[in-house]
Amino acid sequence: MLDTLFFVVLPYLSLLLFFLVGISRYRKRPFSVTSLSSQFLENRKHFWSTVPFHYGLIGVLTIHLAGLLIPDTILAWNASHARLLFLEVTGLALGILALVGLINSIKRRLQLPRMKVVTNTSDWVLLVLLLIQIVLGILVAINHSWGSSWFAASASPWLWSLFTLSPDTAYVATMPLLVKLHIINAWIIIGYFPFTRLIHVLVVPNPYLWRKTQVVLWHRDRKTVRIKD
């Protein structure tokens, strides 16, 4: 029963919120879609929080994504013990990097008066959720080793069962408590995501790499509008 609630209902609810709120916020309140950077108010501590946090988290998420998308490749890679160890250690190091960044960020926002002005309740909720998530992730990595293998072998099929609308909780039902908590908190974050400043992740500026250097916009159609003489 609880398994159904946490591993079927919660994921679907979160995904629904993620897409519905995310898209409607982007369309109806585009002005609110921003990363709300605070670098302008304080520079040095900003470096020691955002940089480790972003690199660490992006690395960890990439490994999760690989486990989801190419589980067979990951399993094949892990066939060699040395390579498995390498992946585990990298994952753990990246997780700790993200944690260091997050803790610095929380400290920065608690300590500096200027920072308090630009941190609201929703930011605090988000920071706490992220803290719980990263700590759980690190604990999982320490207590239940070879996560990259069992993620690919059992979490990945469960996620696919969700995406293909034939949810099967059997894959996760037997997982240790820490892992379950990590998964549940992940879905909470995904559902909460579109309400927060995390929305900036969805608008990362890729076109910058191939657009023209200068942007010029016209408000009239030059070819048709000129009255011919």
Binding site: R25, K28, R29, P30, F31, S32, V33, T34, S35, L36, S37, S38, Q39, F40, L41, E42, N43, H46, F47, T50, V51, H54, Y55, P113, R114, K116, V117, V118, N120, S122, F195, T196, R197, H200, V203, V204, P205, P207, Y208, L209, R211, T213, Q214, V215, V216, L217, W218, H219, R220, D221, R222, K223, V225, R226, D229
Partner: protein, 495 residues
């Protein structure tokens, strides 16, 4: 040739009295909101001085503008290759402390103070945190502080001067200063636009005004680092960049921008110029010593039939072409060669030009009395208190020649008018001054009229915007109803 029209500006520095009316006019209209208190889209600096933000001209520190790398133009701060590290933490981003922390006073303390022997005082409180602060700097903290070892002597433009010249500038009898009113230059090669990863900044095709789309800005902060003039500002409350909009809602109704309109010294001129957009990159990549002339070569003669034909082919309306023909900016910059761009070496091709200031007559002491140190009626340019090399650093991209040309012309006009009105300059001297300044009597007369006697319509020749031809008008007016104009269409709520 791709002809486009650009609204350009000209500031006659010789007339600026440093009253800051322009800054206040702007502030009252646009930047009195939360998060914008520290912004001065228009500000007036004392030169020599450190400016706002402090030492903004020092690009070794701020990394603004473009640089030439193997002959190719590249942003100094945020080239494409560096987007990934920069988007998390931009090392070239100035912080509020480079500007100043805005403050107000707690006036209620004047009334609430208990009865006592001392006068009650209203202490300053930060407009960011609401807490008491000690004021350390303001936007014009070094106002009129020439000669100061803290401010004037830290002016980045002094670095290129020889020790001799520097020392001269700070001799007590020679101390001089002038005002530099600054605002966004609405550049032809804007570094801010080029740097924005989201493409939120853009240049309007019809009139060249550079704007930030508030709906697309994501607080990546690249523009703030990239603009060498530090004229894009970060609103710390809304998490969006903001900048001078050249009062486009006013321009579209044929009124000059508020800073121009309110200018007490009437130093400001505004009009459009036609230019060849296909050559921007080539011109912006010219060697440093050619930059001033190269930028001028981009501006086209609006009376040339070839240009008019090409302009029409590119969809420029007739009345915009006529307006370019009457533009006061074109006269000062192109016909008379007196208007110079600020720090052309930043390579953004600024479209705000300055007429360099002729500094006052030198005086020295002869025995007990102070006397003018020159035999000349007006100060000779070479002996001016503000050395021409210093002006060249600011307005000549390091070259003295264009600055000297502009000063010589002003000097000649003064001599010529003195000859006509007072008569103590003889005709031969006036003629010689005109000849040396590459100026005819007619030209001198025209310069005199536009400098000293211009009417409102002479200073501001605003091209029509033709909003009625805008795409939204032709396609679906109802869809865009109430959709234009500045301001927060949805309230700036933090989510």
């Amino acid at each position: 040739m791709e002809v486009r029209s650009q609204i350009a500006m000209l500031f006659h520095m010789d007339k600026c009295i440093g009253c800051h009316t322009c800054s206040i006019a702007c502030k009252n209209i646009w930047t009195d909101r939360k998060g914008t208190e520290y912004m001065w889209w228009n500000n007036v600096e004392t030169k020599p001085g450190t400016g706002y933000p402090t030492r903004w001209e020092d690009q070794n520190n701020y990394n603004g503008g473009w640089e030439l790398k193997d002959g190719k133009l590249q942003l100094k701060s945020t080239s494409r290759g560096r987007i990934v590290p920069n988007i998390f933490h931009n090392p070239s981003m100035p912080t509020m402390d480079d500007y100043y922390e805005p403050w107000t006073y707690k006036y209620s303390e004047l009334f609430d103070a208990p009865e006592g022997d001392d006068q009650p005082t209203a202490r300053p409180i930060s407009m960011v945190t609401g807490e008491h602060i000690d004021i350390e700097a303001g936007p014009n903290w070094d106002d009129d502080f020439s000669g100061s070892p803290v401010y004037a002597e830290n002016d980045p433009n002094l670095d290129a001067l020889s020790a001799d010249v520097r020392q001269q500038m700070f001799e007590i009898q020679r101390v001089a200063f002038f005002y530099l009113p600054r605002m966004c230059n609405h550049c032809l090669n804007p570094a801010c636009v080029a740097s924005c990863p989201s493409g939120a900044l853009y240049k309007r095709g019809e009139d060249g005004i550079v704007l930030v789309n508030q709906k697309r800005c994501r607080a990546w902060r690249s523009c703030i680092a990239a603009c060498p003039y530090k004229k894009v500002y970060f609103n710390w409350s809304t998490g969006k960049s903001e900048k001078c909009i050249l009062c486009y809602p006013r321009l579209e109704t044929k009124q000059p921008p508020a800073c121009h309109h309110s200018c007490v010294g009437r130093i400001r001129y505004l009009g459009n110029v036609l230019y060849d957009a296909s050559r921007i990159e080539e011109v912006a990549s010219s060697p440093k010593e050619d930059l001033i002339m190269a930028q001028r070569s981009l501006i086209l003669d609006p009376n040339d039939p070839e240009v008019i034909k090409a302009a029409k082919e590119n969809g420029i309306p007739d009345d915009v072409i006529t307006s370019a023909q009457e533009s006061p900016v074109y006269k000062f910059v192109m016909e008379w060669g007196m208007g110079l761009p600020l720090h052309a070496e930043f390579r953004t091709m600024p479209m705000l030009f300055y007429v360099p200031p002729l500094s006052p007559v030198l005086s020295g002491s002869k025995g007990d009395i102070t006397s003018n140190d020159t035999d000349d009626l007006f100060n000779e340019i070479e002996k001016a208190r503000v050395p021409i090399q210093y002006l060249a650093e600011i307005l000549g991209a390091g070259s003295v020649a264009p600055v000297e040309y502009a000063l010589r012309k002003q000097y000649a006009v003064r001599m010529y008018r003195r000859h006509l009105t007072v008569g103590d300059v003889d005709s031969a001297t006036a003629e010689r001054a005109l000849f040396e300044a590459d100026c005819t009597r007619e030209q001198a007369e025209a310069i005199y009229r536009l400098t000293s006697l211009p009417k409102y319509e002479d200073r501001f020749v605003i091209p029509p915007t033709h909003r009625e031809q805008a795409i939204e008008m032709l396609k679906d007016p109802l869809e865009h109803k109430q959709g234009t104009g500045f301001g927060f269409i949805s309230p700036p709520m933090r989510v």
